[in-house]
């Protein structure tokens, strides 16, 4: 193992200063508007000291707690997606009369996130496999992901909606970070942070920070905290044969039941760290200049499947089924990975309290239930 280090809160302050000096826009979790949100941070004083979150299907409460822990909460509503896949981006413009298309360069400054969660790193990796690699990749994602600096803080207080253990993405982080931190609590003082670099850039940054070399006891404390977090995981998904299970249950009556509750609002896709659907739309200015914009889209939306004559997925049932089967089944066919990382946001932020883990368990329990429709054709 490369040299792990134990830093204090002054180390976090120094890390933020160091990253800002390198030209990064430093982002981190802050308690704002009753939730943990990603915002500009310049020192550890900006971080949500003492806050806890309480999450349940359709419910999120941020509570000022006790103690000096900065990362004693699970996940806020925002994954890292918007940083690398902006909700709105102008792709090109074209001016009459020549209509020579001018690409709009992505000029977002490099971002450093201090306080990403392991499930969010996993989400970035899934996004990378979905839109960031291959013969044709999204240039905005590639540009922003390439220049991002990621400091993950391992998860030591999962929410009741979390199921990263069953998806294999947490509560610890194994890769995908520049620096990995684990918040180690102390009975009689401020927490300390076990820090490990994952990249050369991370090693350089870590080398700048005040601290002491890590000892075996620090690593033992980390492992204990992670084991405790894993045991407190509120939910789980049995992934055994799950892609096949869903693919053979397209006519399961359970989809009708969930459709009775689903509002097709698109919250689940907005908060999902891996949903990447996008619309492309043209607008024309008064001088005739055409702008093509890319905006987030949602398969919950009726217009998502529109072709001439109407939408392919006109029922809410078919749209929820598309979302769920894509995440847990077709994503494997398309990108060789699960589309779900177990962050639980779709459960928390669903206004109808729909719980994907419950739906999957119900589908499994009724595997092969008689289709309500006509026989499939040969």
């Amino acid at each position: 193992m490369t040299a792990a280090k134990v830093i204090g809160r002054d180390g976090l302050d120094e890390l933020l200063r160091h990253l800002a000096a390198l030209g990064y826009r430093t982002l981190g979790p802050v308690a704002r508007d009753g939730a943990i949100t990603m915002a500009e941070v310049s020192s550890s004083a900006d971080l949500p000291e003492g806050f806890h979150d309480r999450q349940a299907p359709g419910s999120y409460r941020l509570e000022p707690g006790q103690g000096q822990a900065l990362f004693d909460w699970a996940v806020g509503p925002e994954p890292l997606k918007a940083l690398v896949f902006p909700p709105r981006a102008v792709i090109w413009t074209a001016k009459p009369p020549s209509y020579h298309v001018q690409e709009v360069a992505d000029d977002a400054p490099p971002v450093a996130v201090v306080g990403a969660r392991p499930c969010d790193l996993a989400g970035l990796q899934v996004l990378g496999r979905s839109i960031g690699t291959g013969p044709v990749a999204d240039p905005i994602f590639q540009h922003r992901r390439h220049q991002a600096f990621l400091v993950v803080v391992e998860c030591t207080r999962p929410a009741s909606t979390c199921f990263c253990v069953s998806m294999g993405t947490g509560p610890g982080a194994t890769h995908g970070y520049d620096i990995r931190l684990t918040e180690l609590l102390s009975d009689d003082g401020p927490p300390s942070y076990l820090a490990l670099a994952g990249t050369p850039a991370g090693r350089r940054a870590l080398g700048q920070l005040p601290g002491r070399p890590a000892q075996a006891a620090d690593e033992r404390a980390r492992v204990e905290r992670l084991a405790k977090a894993a045991s407190r995981m509120g939910r789980s998904v049995d992934t055994t044969g799950l892609p096949e299970l869903l693919a053979r249950n397209l006519s399961n009556p359970r989809w009708d039941a969930v459709a009775e509750r689903c509002l097709a609002c698109g919250n689940c896709t907005a908060v999902c760290p891996t949903c990447f659907c996008a619309n492309f739309q043209d607008t024309t200015g008064l001088d005739g200049t055409v702008r093509r914009e890319r905006t987030w889209a949602s398969c919950s939306d009726l217009a998502h499947s529109y072709i001439h004559g109407g939408p392919v997925r006109s029922s809410i049932k078919s749209r929820y089924r598309q979302w769920a089967t894509h995440k847990f089944s077709w994503w494997w066919d398309q990108f060789g990975t699960s589309g779900c990382v177990g962050c639980g946001r779709c459960i928390t932020w669903c206004p109808a309290s729909i719980d994907i883990t419950e739906e999957i368990a119900a589908l499994r329990a009724s595997d092969g239930a008689a289709p309500t429709e006509e026989e499939p054709e040969p």
Binding site: I91, W92, A94, P96, P97, S98, Y99, H100, V101, E103, I131, G134, V136, A137, D138, P139, A247, L250, S251, C275, F276, C277, A278, N279, F280, Q281, D282, T283, T284, G288, V290, R292, R294, A297, C299, H304, S305, Y306, I307, H308, G309, V312, R313, S314, S315, K317, S318, Q322, T325, H326, S329, W330, D333, Q334, E373, P376, E377, P378
Partner: protein, 288 residues
């Protein structure tokens, strides 16, 4: 849509979402709501593709839609046959000669014609579904009689009404080297040909079912019934012999926008042409 003043070459765009500017060099009304646009690149570039692939066409200021290429590879200009079904297709259909449109592509899978040596190739098209098959038929007829060419080409075409029938001149020209049969769902006065759905032509068409390869494009319900008729006729439903071209909402052409999902497929990337065994279960499921 602006009229071209003078073509001034621009550097080739590189981003996956960036169209090249093409000039409308010709326009032909195929049916009351169908037009074929002949496009020439403003920078003189060549444009390589395979029959069955599609382009994303931009009507500047209106939007972008996926449109099959209806010309034959290697020929110029580049042809797209478009049916007016919404604002973008209407703007494209009515694009005056000399105006500019955006072109990105080619995208998607093609008909895979190289696998068709010695086969009896049965092409079945419904309505505008003939557009992505036009280049394929031309290539097959070019190859007919050559060592690696098809043994026979049969073209079965259905249209709702006689005036919806596109590529009439091509159909007449193909008769010299292919068996061509046409039917309409509803006859109007003066129509002396077949009446009925295109599947009704499958039974009497002159091909050897055991050496047949079929290419089918049209509305999904038409493709389902056509494939059923082909299988009943004895065409082997193996993975390579029955190919269909599928349609979904497409906004990027590159597998990045997520709209064209059909089960495991991103149809802009894994389709539009897929083999029927791949597609059959997916097409049997409503609203997938």
């Amino acid at each position: 849509m602006a009229t071209l003043t003078e073509p001034s070459p621009a550097p080739a765009p590189t981003g996956p979402f960036t169209p090249a500017t093409f000039r409308v060099a010709g326009r032909e009304q195929e049916a009351p709501d169908v037009a074929t646009l002949a496009l020439e690149p403003t920078d003189g570039r060549s444009f390589a593709f395979h029959p069955g692939q599609f382009n994303m066409l931009t009507a500047f200021g209106v939007g972008e839609v996926p449109i099959s290429i209806s010309s034959r590879p290697g020929s110029r200009p580049l042809l797209h046959t478009i049916r007016e079904v919404g604002p973008v297709t209407a703007a494209l259909c009515r694009a005056p000669v000399g105006s500019l449109v955006g072109v990105r592509g080619p995208f998607g899978t093609d008909w895979g014609l190289d696998a068709f040596a010695h086969a009896d190739v049965v092409v079945v098209a419904g309505g505008i579904g003939l557009a992505p098959l036009r280049g394929a038929v031309q290539v097959l007829l070019d190859r007919a009689g050559l060592p690696m060419g098809p043994r026979k080409v049969v073209v079965l075409v259905g249209a709702r009404t006689p005036d919806q029938l596109i590529f009439r001149r091509d159909l007449d020209a193909w008769r010299a080297h292919a068996e061509v049969a046409v039917t309409v769902d509803m006859a109007t006065s003066g129509w002396e040909g077949n009446v009925g759905v295109v599947t009704s032509l499958v039974g009497s068409a002159g091909f050897d079912a055991h050496r047949a390869m079929a290419l089918v494009c049209g509305p999904e319900v038409m493709m389902r019934h056509t494939v059923q008729a082909l299988i009943e006729r004895g065409v082997l439903p193996t993975s390579i012999r029955l190919r269909v071209s599928l349609e979904r909402n497409m906004q990027c052409g590159t597998g990045l926008c997520g709209h064209c999902q059909l089960g495991p497929f991103l149809l802009c990337r894994d389709g539009p042409v897929v083999t029927y065994p791949q597609a059959s279960r997916l097409l049997a499921e409503a609203e997938l």
